[in-house]
């Protein structure tokens, strides 16, 4: 038995020293130290040696195992060092075969994120046509012909009564014509206004509109809902304020400012040193709007709000030129993974 241990040792020493590559060395490791290797075989035989020899033999086999392990490890280091100089080891600093990652347009990303918050608050997403009529875009929203309030909504006309909607509010009317309160909806979509294109103006942009109507919907509910939205979207620390304003289709109306997300309200170039950023318009649905869709304006109340998606995306992502959204430069889009 001891002889056998000796011969195994010399044979292993010999073979390991001759191993020429890592593959061969792995084979030897399996041959000697593997689950069915020679050492395992010797251990099995230890069990059958006479009692008086067993401790000694056991010790020898154990020490042989140690020696072989050491030899293998030494040889491995030696071969590894050598092979780094050859081509055998891959250069893992080379790039992987990366599958392409597509990107959602930042405007859609912003719309989805905003809608997600309102879905969580129990709103439904509703959409409407971009090609609209005078009635839905103006008259039904309490914006009569020959009234200066129309100046707020410069509009592209197509032909006859048809136009490209200048806000998403017409969808309010379309929805209310077909549904009965109570309901809570948000309406994302494209809108158009004949504005000369520059860094902050575009003739095409996106809005998200909200409308809630029911028996006891209040101005306080409007404030509460928008507060949740603003904290969820812009962060817990952001402050909100309601400023009285005028929109023909809401009364009372307000513009909503948030404390500047860049300077925290101290005043910077983004907020025009005011510390506040205007982000949306809102108010209680005007009774004339309810009258148009034949709701009982004595019984139901409602609130509506609307925001410009580009403005919010520009603030959120720090984009200073609105034209970037529609140029679709791959280096721009690629940043919104």
């Amino acid at each position: 038995m001891l002889n056998k241990i000796k011969s195994t040792e010399s044979e292993a020493g010999n073979e390991i020293s001759k191993a020429s590559d890592l593959d061969a060395l792995d084979n030897l490791r399996i041959k000697y130290l593997g689950r069915r290797g020679l050492i395992a075989e010797l251990f099995k035989q230890v069990a059958t040696t006479p009692d008086e020899d067993r401790p000694k033999v056991g010790f020898e086999v154990n020490s042989l195992k140690g020696k072989i392990e050491k030899l293998l490890n030494e040889k491995q280091s030696e071969l590894l060092e050598k092979s780094f100089l050859s081509e055998e080891v891959v250069d893992l600093t080379l790039p992987g075969f990366k599958p392409p990652i597509g990107t959602k347009h930042p405007i859609i990303k912003t719309i989805d994120k905003i809608c997600e918050i309102f879905l969580g608050l129990g709103f439904k997403i509703v959409e409407g046509p971009e090609v609209e009529t005078e009635f839905y875009n103006f008259e039904a929203l309490n914006i009569p012909l020959d009234h200066p309030s129309r100046d707020m909504f410069d509009t592209f006309y197509i032909k006859g009564e048809y136009l490209l909607r200048s806000h998403t509010s017409p969808v309010q009317i379309r929805f209310m014509e077909n549904e009965k309160p109570p309901f809570k909806i948000v309406v994302p979509g494209k809108v158009y206004r004949p504005d000369a294109v520059d860094a902050s103006h575009s003739f095409m942009f996106h809005q998200i509109e909200g409308l809630v109507v029911g028996d006891d919907v209040t101005f306080a509910d409007l404030k509460g809902t928008l507060k949740i939205f603003i904290k969820e979207y812009f962060g817990e620390k952001v402050k909100m304020r309601f400023r009285p304003h005028y929109f023909p289709f809401t009364e009372p109306s307000a513009e909503v400012d948030i404390s500047c997300i860049i300077c925290g309200g101290l005043g910077c170039s983004v907020c025009g040193r005011k510390g506040w950023l205007e982000i949306l318009g809102c108010g209680m649905v005007h009774p004339n709007v309810f009258r148009t869709v034949k709701y009982n304006s004595e019984k139901v109340t409602g609130y509506a709000f609307g925001m410009g998606v580009e403005r919010i995306a520009m603030l959120k992502y720090g984009i200073s030129d609105i034209r970037l959204f529609f140029e679709n430069d791959m280096r721009f889009l690629g940043q919104f993974k």
């Binding site: 347009h105 971009e130 197509i158 003739f203 509460g224």
Partner: protein, 681 residues
Amino acid sequence: MRVSYNWLKEHVRIRLKPKDLADRLTMAGLEVKSVEKKNGDLIFEIEVTSNRSDCLSIYGVAREIQGIFGFKLKPLKFGLLKNARLNKPLIKIEDRAGCSRYIGRIIDGVEVGPSPRWLVDKIEAAGLRPVNNIVDITNFCLLELGQPLHAFDCDRLKGGEIIVRRARKGEEITTIDNVKCRLDENMLVIADDARPVAIAGVIGGKDTEVTSSTKRILLESAYFDPPRIRRALKELGISTESSYRFERGIDLKAVPLASERAATLICDLAKAKAISQPADVGIKEHKQARINLRISKVNKVLGMDIATSKCKAILRQLQLKIRQKGKDLLEIKIPSFRKDLKEEIDLIEEIARIYGYEKVPETLSEIPIWGKGSQRSNDKIIEDLIRTTLIELGLNEVITYSLGSKDSFINKLNFNEGELLTIKNPLSSETEILRPSLLPGFLNVIAHNLNRKIFDIRIFELGKSYFSKVNGSPSEKSILAIALCGMRVKNWQKKEPVDIFDLKGIIEALFEKLRISRYEFVAKPLPLLSLAASSVIKVRGEDIGIFGKFGRVILDRHDIKHSIFISELDLKAIAPHIKGETRFSGLPKYPSVVRDVSLIVDEKIPNSEIINLIRRACGDLAVDIKPYDLYRGEQVPKGSKSILYSIEYRASDRTLTDEEVNILDGKLREVLAKALNAKIR
């Protein structure tokens, strides 16, 4: 509007620092955009919303400050008019609907010259240009009281009468800005016996303007119907300080006030020798509106509890007269300057904004869910699924303009002008046409990127295209467009240009995700596309979109030298073919056997035909048939191709034996050889 702080102080006692005044005005609805120091004064730039024409003057803003803060408004004090001994002018209002009231005064012996310093300062503080004392005084009254005035050179008026009437078709007037305007019957004019001498409420005529040689003037103060003024100025494309106020509506009660104010100043500053009594034609006041207000309604709308006494105090401060009609019910009398207060809700807003929006609590409505139906529409669900699938497949979403230029659609893309929807009032050539397709926008995106040396472009867009319905009315449809260009992005070591099958694979993957089956790509020459690769996509025989490669002529016009593969799908046509969630069909119980068949056939026989033949020959037992090698070249005869198919056979109720499969395979080979005249290997 530019408001001088010093001037404001002449009308109201302000007990706030200017900065605080600005902030608090903003928070009460009169937004102060900026405050600018100028010559010892502060100029507030105030945004007056279109409903608040009463704030379009210094006095109006002072009155609003009183309403908001309760500061004391100072009474208006004018000097006394002397020498009112001339005859009144003759004034006739032919169009009563267009002009409710017209006050005219003759002032004689005026000395036209420069205005004194204090007047020049006020005019300049408001951002206007001083002209001469007469014009400056009319502007001063406009700025102070919000009442536009006009002064005519009386000696240049023909005949003895001033007439307010509709313009006659074809009449013309040259304005004081030297612009010749053609008038129509919808416009209101001030005329003498011979011709129009002013476009009412908008601008005066050159012929009768006050000049340095003017001695006798006619001073006009009037009320014109706002929609009429607005229509005229939209038609003429003119906007003046006067028209801005008239179209928003002025205070009928300010008409005599401003007339008197201006007359006194003219007597004083232009050393007039004599003046007439005013000729005052039309109605003296509009019926005063009364609105019922329920305190319970105030609190129902606002969602809070403001005490009745507080509501009444606010209304009183706003110069509204209150009559208590019941415990909860007040009748409110509206003063003539607050035309914006028309019904109960308007008063509720007044209470809310003066009380302070910041004091309204923040609550959540008790409406638990959205209402009927699902939270997302089916169309929305499909769009979202398409979007996520294409992004997973490595495409970048783009948004391109829905409008484009005639040049790009007609000259560069061969669209027929008659079929395009056009914008009546395009802002520039870039907004002339409503796009009939998303592909032109894609060409722009691709050209933009190629010009910046970005060659690998994989894009899609979900957007609308526009068309005329059969009845001629414009309409829109939802479109998915996809384009590929540049290199295949799988492996940086092996760069290969993308080809048509990259795009086809994307569409196949999308259809798999949408569970659309039985679609086919049917070759068909289409505009914009290259004959070499141009097809329609059909699902169950119905056209749902187009697919192919941009034609070279089109590319050349956009200066693009790369191949671009594109597809455009009609989402409405696709929708009915999308299947809902499937039920799990179980895993196969028995093993399958795969056999290959290799054939040499005429090059023109398409894969689809061979696969259909195999399917028919093998029946249901062939569960999967796919080509896996295609060869053209020296090893096969010219005009032929060698193509290899692998066919997977499986039965659902037993393990197929070798003999069974051999029989099927043998039969298949026979069928293929015969039907396709193929050489089987």
